[in-house]
């Protein structure tokens, strides 16, 4: 029935596409006039909306979602906007589709609609014959004359034949229409590649940015942390050296302080190293490192995993492990800072081609990937691996971060060669 309903709609509105295409082409001839540009933009946008409706219908028939082919609009004034529309091949393919659809689409949809309408028509023929005056419906096909409504039932085989044809072929005909439409309405493989290249360029820039920011952070941490403490330490020791004879009590006090400073500096160095590449991650892999995070967390954290093999030791490529670990660790830190949660559940599922992880808390929610730079930073980090991070966090909670990271587990052989001592 979906097919037939779609056929009727296509039949009814196919002309509109041609009108829109014609109007926007006509607008191009008037761009020198003041109304030309807004007219063209309005018509093109209308045609896009019209095409989008057909994308949905086509998607329903094909059982998959159609990809929109349009380029993203950057920024700029009305000239940038018209440039964007004019230079996008999808604009012209929409118009071409509108023409093709008006002819071929109408033909196919018309056939389907006629089969359905014919079936109904001949099925209810006796009724028509009964309720209309003689001379209107009593001469079907102009060959015979029907004198009694019951004779109308003689046309039921015709209804049956049409009905069978409709039942048998309507979905397939509309499928042909859908395939034809999809060929025009979806991006060409060149456009898909172009989009991919743009996405890669963006994620590469992000990767470079986040790597630079990371190095800067480490430098700052060292400068303000361990390095400063060591300077303070040497100052204390120097002063103690001076005092040891003049004022032994004071010297002892300075030495005690120096010892405290040393252990703080060591702690800071340890934390820093752990932040760069935690030893447990290098030694035991992702699952154990996440379990270690859970143990250290200030609130109860449940860790559930599957697909990591016996003893949860399946290893992933080192950069992937580091990225996944970083995301989980940042997510946990965020929960600690913002969520006021009582409990966190971490789930990690390793599939043959991807790693899925979710971090859910029972806190107050309201986390926004757009607002916080933290979540955005995680997304950028993941983008380097074509990974994604989505957040659902209604006010009042719960907050669930879902990470998807394409990757393949290391085979035991490559594991050995990349394993560290």
């Amino acid at each position: 029935m979906t097919a037939t309903a779609t056929a009727f709609v296509v039949l009814l509105v196919a002309w509109a596409g041609v009108v829109l295409a014609a109007l926007s082409t006509a607008a191009l001839t008037t761009v020198v006039l003041w109304f030309g540009i807004p007219w063209f933009v309005a018509m093109t946008v209308a045609l896009r909306w019209y095409a989008d409706q057909h994308r949905q219908a086509t998607g329903r028939l094909l059982g998959r979602e159609l990809v929109r082919p349009y380029r993203a609009f950057g920024s700029g004034g009305r000239f940038a906007r018209i440039r964007w529309l004019l230079t996008d091949p999808a604009t012209w393919r929409d118009m071409l589709w509108a023409l093709v659809n008006c002819v071929a689409g109408t033909a196919i949809a018309g056939l389907v609609a006629s089969l359905f309408a014919g079936t109904v028509y001949y099925a209810v023929y006796p009724l028509l014959l009964a309720v209309t005056p003689p001379g209107v419906f009593d001469r079907p096909f102009a060959l015979v004359t029907l004198h009694h409504p019951a004779q109308g039932a003689l046309l039921w085989p015709v209804a049956g034949l049409l009905g069978w044809l409709w039942w048998r072929y309507a979905p397939e005909l509309m499928r042909i229409w859908a395939i034809m439409s999809a060929a025009f309405l979806e991006p060409t493989s060149a456009a898909v590649l172009q989009g991919r290249v743009a996405a890669l360029a963006a994620s590469r820039a992000d990767t470079v940015d986040s790597a630079a920011a990371e190095i800067r952070r480490i430098e700052r941490d060292l400068h303000d942390g361990a390095q400063a403490r060591l300077v303070a330490l040497s100052m204390n020791l120097g002063l103690a050296d001076e005092m040891v004879e003049r004022n032994p009590a004071k010297a002892r006090e300075l030495l005690a302080e120096a010892r405290a400073t040393t252990s703080t500096a060591l702690t800071e160095l340890r934390d820093l190293v752990r932040g760069i590449h935690p030893p447990v991650l290098a030694d035991r892999g992702l699952v154990h490192a996440v379990r270690a995070l859970a143990v250290d967390a200030p609130l109860p954290v449940g860790v559930h995993t599957s697909g990591f093999g016996e003893h949860e030791l399946t290893r992933l490529p080192e950069p992937v492990e580091a990225c996944a670990y970083f995301v989980v660790s940042e997510a946990l830190a965020n929960v600690g800072k913002h969520a006021r949660a009582n409990r966190v559940e971490i789930r990690m599922v390793l599939e043959p081609t991807r790693l899925l992880a979710s971090i859910g808390d029972d806190g107050r929610g309201g986390a926004d990937a757009g607002a916080g730079t933290g979540l955005r930073g995680l997304q950028r980090r993941l983008a380097a691996f074509d990974g994604t991070l989505s957040v659902t966090s209604p006010a009042g909670g719960p907050t669930i971060l879902t990470m998807e990271l394409p990757c393949a587990p290391l085979s035991p052989k490559t594991m050995r060669s990349s394993a560290r001592d």
Partner: protein, 212 residues
């Protein structure tokens, strides 16, 4: 003596105050960021400012820039710049005024408390103090013209460029002040620099030559 300290790390700030205090240098103000440093450098009652290169808000080189700017407005304002690493460019900027009363030291130098306090006093009195690392670097750059110096003279030059007085050089090399004077005269002759009796002027001349 009255000193101003600009250091954002509380631990180091307190340590410096304590250290200077035990050598009777009164810290009249200790600030932790650039805006308060700029304001404090306008004080008339300070004999020396000890400034960390890196200060908030951006944590880059605002301490140094504030110091250089203050010295442009008040030539000769004694400033000792401390840093966790030495950067030749910063040394050059500090020396650009060709005025004394300036110092640039690694923070590590505070561990030798006596020498550090000496350096503070020297800067306060209008002297010039350069970190040995800066000087070593400058000497490396001038291998050609310096090849004519004897090892002894080279050593004296190195000490002199860090801003030490004849007496201090003599003490650390275990020779008499007279011998040091003679070495210095030779160095100046070999490098073609005009002699000067004023210690401070001499240091500046040497540094200017090395920076050249």
């Amino acid at each position: 003596m009255r000193a101003l300290i600009a250091e954002d790390h509380a631990l180091l700030r307190e340590g410096l105050i304590r250290l200077l205090d035990s050598y009777d240098i009164e810290v009249v103000e200790a600030v932790a960021d650039e805006p308060s440093l700029v304001r404090a450098l306008r004080r008339e009652d300070i004999d020396v400012a000890i400034v960390d290169v890196r200060l908030p808000p951006t944590g880059t080189d605002e301490g140094l820039r504030a110091a250089v700017q203050a010295r442009q407005q008040r030539p000769g304002l004694p400033v000792l710049v401390l840093s966790q690493y030495v950067e030749q460019l910063y040394a050059r900027e500090l020396l650009a005024s060709e005025q004394g009363g300036v110092g640039y030291l690694l923070k590590d130098r505070v561990s030798n408390v006596k020498q550090f306090v000496d350096a503070v006093q020297q800067v306060a009195e209008g002297g010039t103090v350069m970190d040995p690392e800066v000087v070593a670097h400058l000497l490396r750059r001038h291998d050609g013209p310096l090849a004519g110096l004897t090892p002894r003279e080279r050593e004296v030059l190195e000490h002199m460029a860090t801003g030490r007085s004849n007496a201090a050089i003599a003490a650390s090399m275990f020779v008499t002040e007279k011998a040091v004077g003679k070495h210095i005269a030779n160095i100046f002759a070999k490098l073609g620099l005009a002699q000067s009796d004023d210690d401070n002027r001499r240091v500046l001349a040497v540094l200017a030559y090395l920076q050249g």
